[in-house]
């Protein structure tokens, strides 16, 4: 027992060392990942990070001081055999007033940049390019009102241009957040909320829903693709043109027929701009994501799967497999045969 007590001082220090090691390891390993708030690519995210860094170092100083004093006190003032009763010190008003004021000053120092940053992030830039976001259980709809088209789950924007993300939800509350570009903002049914940011570099950025929104909250990812302005203009033009019409006799043309046929009836839920069946039916469904450029998107099912032909096949056969509880039904071989499904996948893949 005595040995055990004696070795405890070592253990007390031993507890702090792994904690510090863990912290350092964290600093080394954290960051650089696809959805990390420390990899900055937007002015909005940069403003947040710039506020965080000084507060973080201040926190480290306070952390070390408090934990150090705590462990030091416990080691230094450990009771030894025959120690007298210590002085019964009840307090010291001067000291206490001092350490009431000290944190007040520290917090005031933090508060000033906090308030200016809140104001900065809330201020609307001049003449921003606006994208409307509508949150659905469990996917994202992006509407380009000025340019007159709609897309889903992958948002395209130009670099170095102020963007206004104007948001609402069709069902429950969601939250829109791409950590490398901007801070999050809730997406609320019956309300309009906004995010203002400028992407500082081109590339593909990850984001997802951050407000619990039901059974498939985990698979409500999105991507933001940032282009150079001319590349973006090309993308807008291709969106406005609508879907590529497959050449007759090809497997894609067969897939287009499957899209409209009774067993599948994809058009009941999904839109493809410009796609019209032989009987004149338009693909104008509004339940699921617009599929006009589905072949171009890196993800299926709001990030449930990577967009490969094999995954698309499996997804349509049974979306409940990789995203249980989502709104899209499974399609049996009676509804779409393997052959038809392959054609359908080829058609969807051709929509770029």
């Amino acid at each position: 027992m005595a040995d055990w007590i004696r070795c405890k001082r070592g253990v007390a220090l031993g507890a702090l060392v792994p904690l510090l090691a863990l912290t350092l390891a964290g600093c080394g390993i954290t960051g650089g990942e696809v959805q990390s708030a420390s990899e900055l690519a937007g002015d909005n995210a940069r403003a947040i990070w710039n506020l965080f860094v000084p507060i973080f170092w201040l926190s480290v100083v306070i952390f070390v001081l408090v934990q150090g004093a705590l462990i030091w006190a416990v080691i230094k003032f450990r009771r030894k055999e025959g120690d007298p009763v210590p002085a019964q010190l009840h307090g010291n008003t001067k000291v206490e007033v001092a350490w009431t004021i000290a944190p007040a000053i520290i917090l005031a120092v933090i508060l000033v940049p906090t308030i200016t940053t809140i104001a900065d992030l809330a201020s609307e830039p001049d003449d921003p390019y606006t994208v409307d976001v509508i949150g659905h259980q469990w996917w994202w709809e992006f509407e380009y009102e000025e340019d007159g088209f709609v897309t889903g789950n992958v948002m395209h924007i130009p670099v170095d241009t102020p963007i206004q993300v104007r948001m609402t939800a069709s069902d429950v509350i969601h939250s829109f957040y791409a950590p490398q570009l901007f801070g999050k903002q809730d997406v609320i049914p019956g309300r309009e909320t906004n995010i203002y940011f400028t992407a500082e570099q081109t590339g593909e950025f990850y984001g997802q829903c951050y407000e619990f929104c039901g059974i498939q909250h985990a698979n409500m990812h999105f991507r933001i693709v940032v282009h150079e302005q001319d590349e973006f203009d090309d993308w807008v033009a291709s969106q406005q043109e609508g879907a590529t019409e497959p050449e007759e006799g090809t497997i894609e043309a067969q897939g287009k027929e499957v899209f409209f046929q009774a067993g599948a009836a994809c058009h009941a839920c999904h839109a493809i701009d410009g796609a019209v069946a032989e009987d004149g039916t338009e693909a104008a469904g509004q339940v699921g994501p617009n599929l006009t450029n589905i072949g171009d998107r890196p993800i299926i099912g709001a990030g449930s799967l990577e967009n490969t032909p094999e995954n698309m096949f499996d997804w349509i056969r049974n979306p409940q497999e990789s995203k249980p509880g989502n709104e899209m039904p499974a399609f049996s071989e009676d509804q779409i045969s393997d052959e038809d499904l392959e054609a359908l996948v080829a058609y969807l893949n051709s929509l770029r």
Binding site: A15, G31, V66, V172, I188, F212
Partner: protein, 600 residues
């Protein structure tokens, strides 16, 4: 034949003991009922937590279905907050407050028993969703419009609403009871500024309860109406989905202080005792507690910074939130100063109390980070917040409650808990806790959202999730050791005297365990830390003669009956309304019997 008679007698004996516990109005027995019940629920919540951690150990895991996962994380929070931590604090209120203020019992003993039974039945009602495979799965915050009948059809939302509604009655009744007890039943000479700090923190907590819980009751009532009777309080089109969040957090933030203040009180008793020094800056600690409670009602929007209430409200609530860090910081420094220059004995209780200061500080620091609104635009609803809240509620509240358990156990049972087991428990818990929750800060930086049942493999979340899961199992083993220690010590722990720790407050003057009437003579209080003062400064003081007339409240089964009726009333809203009618009749009959029960 004789054997059969003996067996029968023993059986009646056993029934007599059970009947005694069911009908008891003795605050000590009710305290123990609260303690063991809340500990049981703690393990229910812990089991759910391990389910969550097991699922998240590896990416793309399919161990638990998303539906069940959502029930697990929702029920984990509800069970831990409403059925484990809060009632365990109430266990300490019950056993310790009357002893610390020199009273025979609480002000309303039958109401006290009622609080316990409502808590038990409410807890059963809330958890029974699992029996129907339809436990609440909407997050403990139950945000509209996800909580509406349209988006959460079925019973799960109703278990949430009615379970919490019934539990709230228990909490409110308990809050009222302890407020009156502390105001009216203190021993002669115990002025407010001579009360032990645990009594002070309890009083502040129950004031918070009385002010905050009615808001929750109203919000739940409106949600019940929306779900069951087609009202539109929280409808996106005709009502407001954001209104729920305001109501919920006007309750929810004071709730955080309801959870932490009792632990503040406990460690403010433990640290001085094992440092052999009075609490440094008693009045600063008291007034900072009051300041925290007051400001606690003015910070709720910091849970809603990303809702978009506007830049000006965000600035205001950022300021109030930072203000509340000041009294909290003052407390931490006062605890450090209490240790400073003391003569420190590292018992298990003391180790947990010291660790509380360290761990709570980490939670406090990360709290100031999200008080800076733009940082919250990043950290909100990520694992950073999960780390923060567990440093406050586990590293804070739970460490405090464990410290209190080791500290007061000798008073409860007249036996010590095993110190050697206790120390293993401590180190497993401290290391397991930090392994579980510290890496969650890193996951938050890397943008991992909370409340997701799985994550993809290419996001860099694998390592820290696995570490957290290993830590969680370590923590679980540590807590099981505590249970083993408790059971072993109840049966065969080393006998403890009335004053096992050289205590400072008057609960240590009475026998361990205390007699049914607590004190032979009503204590006369002459100083703060009266018992210490008596032992070391007033050694020539004569013991007062024992009181001649001791009035103790009789037992009663009526509170149990009324509680059962209330549970049925709640269950009826979930299943079918005629159950509510039966419950209503039972409640009414019970209340009638309560009013006319002879009281001597």
């Amino acid at each position: 034949m004789a054997q059969a008679v003996a067996a029968k007698e023993e059986q009646t004996d056993r029934w007599a003991i059970i009947w005694d516990w069911i009908t008891t109005s003795d605050h000590k027995k009710i305290g123990l009922l609260y303690f063991w019940t809340s500990l049981t629920f703690f393990f229910v919540g812990g089991f759910l937590a391990l389910g969550v951690r097991s699922q998240l150990a590896v990416p793309n895991s399919t161990m638990i279905s998303p539906d069940v996962y959502n029930q697990f994380f929702t029920m984990h929070a509800l069970v831990m907050i409403f059925l484990a931590l809060m009632p365990m604090s109430v266990a300490f209120f019950n056993f310790i407050i009357p002893l610390q203020i020199g009273a025979r019992d609480v002000a309303f003993p039958r109401l006290n028993s009622f609080s316990y039974w409502v808590y038990l039945f409410g807890g059963i009602l809330l958890c029974s969703g699992f029996l129907f495979g339809d436990a609440p799965d909407i997050g403990w915050t139950g945000y509209a419009s996800l909580s509406s009948a349209q988006y959460t059809p079925g019973a799960s939302g109703d278990f949430y609403v009615m379970g919490l509604q019934v539990l709230g009655i228990s909490t409110l009744a308990g809050g009222l009871n302890f407020f009156v007890t502390i105001i009216n039943m203190r021993a002669p000479g115990m002025s407010l500024m001579r009360m032990p700090i645990f009594v002070w923190m309890t009083m502040i907590t129950v004031v918070l309860i009385m002010l905050a819980f009615p808001t929750l009751a109203i919000a739940l009532f409106a949600l019940m109406m929306d779900r069951n009777f087609d009202t539109v309080f929280f409808s996106a089109t005709e009502g407001s989905v954001v209104m729920w969040q305001h109501l919920f957090w006007i309750f929810g933030h004071p709730e955080v202080y309801i959870l932490i203040l009792p632990a503040f009180g406990i460690i403010s008793e433990v640290l001085p005792t094992f440092s052999r020094k009075p609490l440094f800056g008693y009045s600063f600690v008291v007034f900072s507690g009051i300041a925290i409670a007051f400001l606690g009602f003015g910070v709720w929007v910091h849970h809603m910074f990303t809702v978009g209430v506007g830049p000006i409200p965000n600035m205001v609530f950022s300021t109030t939130t930072m203000l509340i860090a000041i009294p909290t910081g003052v407390k931490i420094l006062n605890w450090l100063a209490t240790l400073w220059g003391g003569s420190i004995r590292l018992t298990t209780a003391m180790l947990f109390a010291v660790a509380f200061v360290g761990m709570f500080t980490i939670g406090g620091i990360s709290g100031v980070m999200h008080a800076a609104v733009p940082i919250d635009y990043w950290q909100h609803d990520t694992y950073f917040v999960v780390a923060h809240l567990h440093y406050v509620l586990f590293g804070g509240t739970m460490f405090g409650l464990i410290a209190g358990t080791y500290y007061w156990f000798p008073k409860w049972y007249g036996r010590y808990m095993s110190e050697s087991l206790g120390k293993i428990h401590f180190w497993l818990t401290l290391i397991g806790f930090n392994l579980t929750f510290f890496p969650m800060h890193f996951l938050g930086v890397d943008g991992m959202p909370r409340r997701i049942y799985t994550y993809p493999s290419d996001y860099g979340y694998e390592l820290w999730n696995l570490v957290a899961t290993v830590g969680a199992y370590m923590l679980g083993i540590g807590m099981l050791l505590m249970v083993w220690n408790l059971i072993k010590s109840v049966r065969s722990g080393e006998p403890a005297p009335a004053d096992p720790w050289d205590g400072r407050t008057i609960e240590w003057t009475t026998a361990s365990p205390p007699a049914k009437h607590n004190f032979d003579a009503t204590p006369q209080i002459r100083a703060r830390d009266d018992f210490w003062d008596k032992k070391y400064n007033r050694t020539d003081e004569a013991e007062p003669p024992a009181d001649e007339h001791i009035h103790l409240p009789p037992g009663s089964y009526v509170p149990l009956l009324v509680s059962f009726g209330l549970m049925l009333m709640g269950a009826g809203v979930i299943f079918t309304l005629w159950i509510s009618v039966i419950g209503g009749i039972i409640t009414a009959v019970g209340l009638f019997a309560w009013a006319f029960e002879p009281n001597d």
